[in-house]
């Protein structure tokens, strides 16, 4: 089975802190994704990566950056956390193309 893990299930940070969310997949998938999920808005794509060291902006990249130094790991960085970044963050991976995306359990981030 594909396994996508995220470093934290719950995280509490203060405004202005730098926040790192880590995602690791164990299936040698080329593509990885970061979404945020908010009630009534569904899932919105923040950034995605087609391969190592490659990244592309999604629909809501403002306030976020990403890093993919190794194929299995995709990090989401909040350079200076703000209260409007309080949300559920979901990571996903897939082999490529139109194949199924597999999701991690999510990180619920609270920014105070």
């Amino acid at each position: 089975d594909v396994k996508v893990t995220q470093s934290s299930r719950y995280l509490v940070k203060r405004t202005g802190e730098k926040v790192f969310l880590e995602c690791v997949q164990d299936m040698d998938h080329e593509n990885m994704f970061w979404y945020r999920q908010d009630p009534g808005l569904g899932l919105r794509l923040i950034y995605f990566s087609y391969d190592v060291k490659m990244k592309e902006k999604g629909d809501i990249p403002e306030g976020y950056s990403v890093s993919r130094e190794k194929k299995e790991r995709f990090s989401l960085i909040l350079e200076s956390a703000s209260t409007n970044q309080t949300s559920m963050y979901l990571c996903a991976s897939r082999t490529g193309g139109v194949e199924t995306q597999y999701f991690g359990p999510g990180t619920r981030l609270l920014v105070l």
Partner: protein, 113 residues
Amino acid sequence: AQSVTQPDIHITVSEGASLELRCNYSYGATPYLFWYVQSPGQGLQLLLKYFSGDTLVQGIKGFEAEFKRSQSSFNLRKPSVHWSDAAEYFCAVNGGATNKLIFGTGTLLAVQP
């Protein structure tokens, strides 16, 4: 632009009753369609997907969905709902040059005993 509409925000059904969750999409070419389920506090799990071929697709947990091109719909069905089916359900379409998934806003299903 591609989009997905799930017109029902909340649905409540009785245990043992049938279920249909609606999904409409907007996409010019043949879409690749997915249904995911999210249990409380969890990530998303794939229920089923449609790429091509038979328009009635079977998924896990007794779910099925039917692709109707003429109605731009991909509705999810289950003949008899179990209490464990209470969750949020997301429809998604994949397409375009970047092959990104576009999600609907979700339907929250409650199951009454």
